[in-house]
């Protein structure tokens, strides 16, 4: 397997409604920024990987065809990836597979969604089985509410601890110009008093719905060093799945994420993730999830996710900053969201994260989540090629 690295990233400004551009226009914005960041042109790109979430969000099937021009795929090999909420990460991982396998040397991966085009919870509700459960499922919030309640019941985490996550990430977002939500006066009281969406989840425990796109350029060893002075070497990736209602399931035990974490730590030789990883970008669409994901990724003991956030360890000044970008709680396009985690992790190790740069970040981990609470992806990037 060849070594491969992220050598350029591009994000659009995300907004509740980008009425200035079409969906292909958004894709073009992210793609050109990634090429610019890598210092290359579309002529240097050997293949394009395109990703977006359910077509029902934009109501146009074959989004890879609709966006062929705008993603730079004209007369190039192009594939499309779709894996629910993890699609952004799977698209980056597919581009990595291409380069690592030696199929192509330089690959452009581009993802996005324009969630303002339709009622997003209506589209999301169509991911439920039509015979068993679509009748009263309420998009993503109600499913995650069931998870949050079970997590609170099993481990005793609290709504107040979840609110700490919501505040931390919204404060970080103030340092990220691309983030959608900028709430300067965010506080625990604001979160606790915000409108209830689906108990115990309140409005400010939840991500917004965004129009936005993200792209990355992934290049092989040899080229990567030419394109970037400090490439983000991809050290390990994992995409794991679990069933929806399998026997013995407990939503407080994200088995797929635990398996994914074991795999990427083994591949990279990480034995103490809390100490060896400098920064994490997690897919916390809802505040409770960040605590649960940090446990499942072995940053702390099971049930200690609430205490981890209380300790301040996951703040930008802590020993394990989580979501310095402001995370999914500040921006959620769905299609691009998991790629934004990878791009942000890469920006950290490349030293290109601007105001939300974590000093000295050398190893970063990016997580993706999606499906009926069962898809998980991980990617570890590092300044260290070997």
């Amino acid at each position: 397997m060849r070594r491969a690295a992220i050598v350029g990233t591009g994000q659009t400004k995300c907004k509740e409604r980008r009425d200035d551009v079409s969906f292909p226009g958004l894709i073009y914005e992210a793609a050109t920024r990634a090429l610019e960041d890598a210092g290359i042109t579309i002529d240097d790109v050997d293949a394009v990987v395109f990703g977006s979430a359910p077509e029902l969000f934009e109501g146009v099937n074959h989004p890879e065809q609709w966006c062929a021009d705008a993603s730079g795929a004209f007369l190039k090999p192009q594939i499309r990836i779709h894996t629910g909420g993890t699609v952004g990460a799977s698209t980056g991982i597919a581009a990595f597979y291409y380069v690592a396998a030696g199929m192509f040397d330089t690959v452009l991966a581009v993802t996005g969604d324009k969630l303002s085009e339709s009622p997003v919870q209506l589209g999301l509700s169509t991911v439920y089985d039509p015979i068993l459960g679509r009748q009263f499922a309420c998009g993503a919030p109600s499913a995650v509410a069931l998870q949050a309640r079970q997590y609170m019941h099993k481990y005793g985490v609290t709504e107040h601890q979840a609110a700490l996550v919501a505040v931390k990430n919204r404060k970080n977002a103030l340092l990220n110009p691309y983030a959608q939500l900028h709430i300067p006066n965010i506080s625990v009281e604001m979160v606790m008093n915000s409108m209830v969406l689906s108990t115990p989840i309140k409005l400010l425990d939840s991500c917004p719905a965004s129009d936005g796109a993200c792209a990355m350029v992934i290049a092989s060893e040899g080229l990567a060093e030419q394109y970037a002075d400090r490439p983000a070497w991809i050290k390990a990736v994992a995409t794991f799945n679990e069933g929806v209602y399998y026997a013995g399931r407990n939503f407080a035990d994200p088995l797929a994420l635990m398996e994914a974490a074991k795999k990427v730590y083994k591949t990279t030789g990480i034995t103490d993730p809390r100490r060896e990883i400098d920064v994490a970008e997690l897919y916390e669409a809802f505040s409770f999830q960040e605590m649960l994901w940090t446990e499942a990724m072995f940053f702390c003991e099971r049930g200690e996710g609430g205490k981890l956030v209380e300790s301040g360890a996951t703040e930008m000044t802590g020993d394990l900053p989580v979501n310095p970008s402001g995370g999914v709680l500040s921006t959620n396009t769905i299609g691009a969201t998991a790629m934004m985690r990878q791009a942000e992790a890469a920006m950290q190790v490349m030293g290109r994260a601007g105001q939300h740069q974590i000093d000295g970040a050398r190893t970063a981990i990016a997580h993706g989540w999606g499906g009926g609470i069962q898809f998980h992806t991980l990617m570890i990037v590092s300044t260290d090629k070997n």
Partner: protein, 296 residues
């Protein structure tokens, strides 16, 4: 068994600068405009935001006469719910004078490759591609119109609505027949891990083996988790607020998802609940109306 249903979603599609201007020109000036790529000099009609070949944004506008040539034509003889006209009608690829791409549109019957045509506009126009009524032979008189300044259209509204017939499959068909006819909840036992999947399923998720042994489980069980939904959205099948949860029925190894009707304050993870059956059962999830606190 089959469940009949549909997915209907309203949309507001952002046009972007190119199509926004194109549609506004159709509506306000009965005029067709294209966009030129500064790199390759090609003119795109309808305009797009990006020249795919040069990977550059298109930003130079070109006004066209609305006259051109038929590149290919086809008489359509079948009808779909969204067909623009009753069949037969003629669909054509039209290369407008000054354009480097073709426009797909309706054409007068009998037109063929190489014929010279012009766009005939409707009198009432609303900013859609059908503001052009159809392409007609050039010989027909042209109506001269004065152009005014137009504001690009920001969005186009529409809806996608598709009817479905979802097949239950063998296992769920039997599950719902039993629930409808006998008020019985059936599961399937995995021969390997011995777990019982409810509602019945052909495959054990964990073991990926066929579960062929049928077992009846109780309509009583434990409420594992629950939520009260307050968030409304267009097209929601159940009107909020309502409470639903995941129930581990006695004898089952998997969760059963259903509505819970009890005062919210009295609900706890781990409490005992029981099904309340409907008197009018049709073989679907609502053969059970909801779950309530177990009667002692």
């Amino acid at each position: 068994m089959i469940l009949h249903g549909d997915i209907t979603i309203p949309y507001k599609w952002t046009t972007g600068p190119a199509i926004g201007r194109f549609l506004a020109e159709l509506r306000d000036n009965a005029r067709i405009v294209g966009a030129r790529c500064a790199e390759c000099n090609k003119v795109f009609v309808p305009p797009t935001d990006v020249c795919g070949q040069c990977f550059k944004p298109l930003d130079a506008w070109v006004e066209l006469t609305g006259e051109g040539e038929i590149i290919a034509a086809s008489a359509v003889h079948y009808q779909l719910p969204w067909s623009p006209l009753p069949p037969p009608y003629t669909l054509a690829l039209v290369r407008l004078d000054g354009a480097d791409t073709e426009l797909i549109h309706l054409a007068q019957e009998g037109l063929k490759t190489g014929d010279r045509v012009r766009a005939k506009f409707k009198e009432e126009r609303s900013g859609t591609i059908l503001d052009i009524d159809k392409f007609v032979p050039l010989a027909d008189a042209t109506v001269e119109r004065e152009a005014t300044t137009t504001q690009p259209l920001k969005e186009v509204r529409g809806q996608v609505s598709l009817p479905y017939r979802w097949s239950y499959g063998k296992a769920l068909s039997r599950f719902f027949q039993e629930s409808r006819d006998n008020k019985r909840l059936m599961g399937t036992r995995c021969p390997r891990c011995l777990s019982v999947t409810v509602p019945a399923a052909r495959i054990c998720t964990r073991c990926f083996v066929e579960a062929t042994e049928w077992v009846e489980v109780s309509d009583h069980g434990v409420l594992e988790t629950f939520t009260t939904v307050h968030l409304p959205f267009p097209g929601q099948p159940t009107e909020p607020p309502y409470t639903y949860g995941l129930i581990l029925l006695d004898g089952a190894s998997t969760y059963f998802s259903h509505l819970i009707e009890e005062p919210v304050e009295s609900l706890r993870c781990g409490m005992r609940v029981q099904a309340v059956w409907s008197d009018e059962r049709k073989g679907d999830l609502f053969d059970i109306l909801h779950f309530k606190k177990e009667e002692s």
